[in-house]
């Protein structure tokens, strides 16, 4: 597989594997990994209308405020926190908040928490946010409202910094993918960015697993004819100085670039060698 040849920043996959191997020899840790602890407050028989999914990895600083805003999005809201690889006390904060908490000892990897959370969600509408960014409930409500009004995928109208000659790789990838999917109107908006909301229908069509590779989920949504639209602009670039710091240390750019390619490859497999685009009147047979 291509995975072998990638640039590994941070841990190498080999060192990761040896750790897992060590754990396995110690005991039945593996099963603990695969079926998480679920901490759920008593439900009073009422089904939630909105499920807010928040993956958390060591985000103690902002978590309390993030969860408080999330819980106020709708009167019938369940907040699902997917704590993974956290050692900073995030877990306790999540538990105290009254949210449904899923706990994984090890980091799941970028955006895998979205899939895990979505799997547990019971709401008609799923709202995805990050734990390191406090977005007011009123702002989040706009995404929920968009789905209530018929959107299947309600995106943050955020395209990143584009008034430049050379844009960031992720910004380029998002624009290129939307253009390739025939949705240039979406500009650089993507499921990759939070906040965004999905209808239950969208979740059924996309499936929970693909949410771990957001550009793939984005591509599936568009190709399967879901109603995908931009809602309001939330400047997640500016809100996130912590992320900038992390980006310098351990860049996510190669991962997200790869995600976009994986999305293109999925599309390729679902269509033909030209992604369903006609060849016009090019007489290829003339040159062999």
């Amino acid at each position: 597989m291509a995975n072998k040849f990638g640039k590994h920043r941070g841990r190498s996959p080999l060192s990761g594997r040896s750790k897992i191997a060590r754990r396995l020899s110690k005991g039945k840790q593996k099963f603990k990994e695969e079926s998480p602890n679920i901490d759920s407050p008593n439900e009073q028989g009422s089904f939630p209308f909105v499920s807010v999914i928040v993956p958390v990895m060591n985000e103690r600083k902002t978590l309390r405020r993030v969860l408080s805003e999330a819980s106020r999005v709708h009167p019938q809201t369940e907040v699902i926190v997917v704590v993974n690889g956290s050692t900073d006390g995030s877990l306790e904060i999540a538990r105290k908040s009254g949210a449904k908490v899923l706990m994984y000892e090890h980091p799941l990897g970028h955006d895998v928490g979205r899939s895990i959370g979505a799997r547990e969600a019971q709401g008609n509408i799923l709202l995805f946010i990050d734990a390191d960014m406090v977005i007011p409930a009123a702002t989040l409500r706009a995404f929920v409202d968009a789905v209530t009004q018929g959107a299947d995928v309600a995106l943050n109208d955020y395209s990143g910094p584009v008034k430049k000659f050379t844009v960031h790789g992720v910004v380029l990838a998002k624009h290129a993918l939307n253009q390739l999917l025939g949705r240039p109107d979406l500009e650089g908006s993507s499921i990759t960015a939070v906040p965004h909301a999905l209808s239950r229908k969208a979740l059924d069509i996309i499936g929970t697993s693909a949410l771990s590779v957001p550009p793939l989920a984005h591509t599936m949504a568009i190709c399967k004819g879901l109603n995908v639209r931009r809602v309001i602009h939330v400047n997640v670039g500016q809100l996130n100085p912590m992320r900038l710091k992390r980006e310098r240390k351990h860049s996510l750019t190669p991962l997200i670039m790869g995600d976009h390619l994986e999305a293109i490859q999925w599309w390729l497999r679902k269509t033909d060698s030209r992604g369903g685009y006609e060849d016009g009147d090019r007489q290829r047979w003339m040159v062999r």
């Binding site: 040849f5 990897g109 190669p254 790869g258 390729l268 060698s273 016009g280 090019r282």
Partner: protein
């Protein structure tokens, strides 16, 4: 500091140019006396190109160097050469070790073809392959008027990308310069594309990126080009690609990509990168038809399909994520995937 250093350099260059010129005069006189002498302008041009190439590669210091200086020296030598011969014919010299040809796909405007060929005729080209379709007698006459043209004609309209690759099949030169049949480009500029391809790279692209403006103002097609380059780890190429004329290719490049793949420029471009070809810039030409091309819906859809083909090619070679592996996600916890 800079100024100080540049003065002796300039004096040095002046001396070099004078020496080149006097060598040119000498060689011109010798050619006039030789049996090969012929007073047709075509013969004179050919002799001047040939003598300059020989002189440059044997004695004038050879290989690399700044193209501007090489061009200046060539002009100095060849003007001396013509003085020595006693006849004059305009040329733009490029010191070639091997042969170069041009491929022109003409659209149906005689005036454009005329001016394009006029520019090409002063370059050291072995052949100029002119691909015509539905051509008028006038177009034929123009194409045939030049001494080294090879004219191909199709009774029906053929796609320009296909025409280019057909044209490429008809010449055996080592370097191929592909130019737009609608837009005449100064021969001095075209000369550098040939030179880069001769001396440094396998593919000399047109640098359109500086003219594109800020990212958000660009046409959708440019996003494909730029993302294709970036996904193949060639951020340095920006939005430049084989989709923009003019460009020059080495024989090695043609063999690596396969001539027939030129019919799908984006795919050829990806194959060139995947094949490890040396890809650089040959110059910056403002391409008028380029913008026109970006405009229509049909062209956009076609570019999308072409790029899908390009990625498909790349993914066949390097896997679905190319060089951007996912080594951090624990996908095993996800269970079944919609594949």
């Amino acid at each position: 500091m800079n100024k100080r250093r540049s003065i002796p350099n300039q004096i040095h260059l002046k001396n070099v140019l004078l020496r080149d010129r006097s060598t040119g005069v000498k060689d011109g006189i010798n050619w006039r006396k030789s049996e090969a002498f012929n007073d047709s302008p075509g013969q004179l041009q050919e002799a001047a190109h040939k003598n300059w190439s020989q002189y440059f590669h044997r004695r004038a210091g050879g290989k690399g160097g700044d193209w501007k200086v090489i061009l200046q020296r060539g002009k100095s030598y060849t003007s001396g050469f013509m003085k020595g011969v006693g006849l004059y014919s305009k040329i733009i010299p490029v010191p070639l070790r091997n042969t170069a040809s041009a491929v022109v796909c003409a659209c149906n405007r005689a005036i454009d073809l005329q001016s394009v060929l006029k520019k090409l005729s002063i370059l050291p080209l072995k052949e100029i392959v002119v691909v015509l379709h539905n051509a008028s007698d006038e177009m034929f006459t123009i194409a045939r008027n030049y001494k080294n043209t090879v004219v191909v004609h199709f009774p029906e309209a053929v796609d320009p990308d296909v025409e280019r690759s057909l044209g490429a099949k008809l010449t055996s030169a080592n370097t191929l310069l592909f130019v737009d049949g609608e837009q005449a480009v100064d021969a001095n500029i075209l000369a550098r594309f040939i030179w880069e391809c001769e001396s440094r790279v396998d593919i000399a692209l047109n640098d359109i990126s500086t003219r594109l403006g800020l990212f958000y103002q660009r046409a959708g097609i440019e996003r494909f080009h730029e993302f294709l380059n970036r996904s193949l780890n060639r951020k340095d190429l920006k939005a430049n690609s084989l989709s923009s004329l003019p460009f020059a290719l080495s024989r090695h490049a043609l063999d690596t990509m396969g001539i027939s793949n030129l019919a799908v420029p984006a795919k050829a471009h990806a194959m060139a990168i995947l094949g490890g070809l040396r890809i650089g810039i040959g110059g910056a030409v403002k391409s008028s038809s380029h913008y026109e091309r970006s405009a229509s819906n049909e062209k956009w859809r076609r570019a999308a399909g072409d790029h899908i083909e390009a990625w498909r090619e790349a993914m066949t070679a390097q896997g679905s994520r190319l060089n951007f592996a996912d080594s951090t996600r624990n996908r095993s916890v996800l269970g079944e995937w919609e594949r």
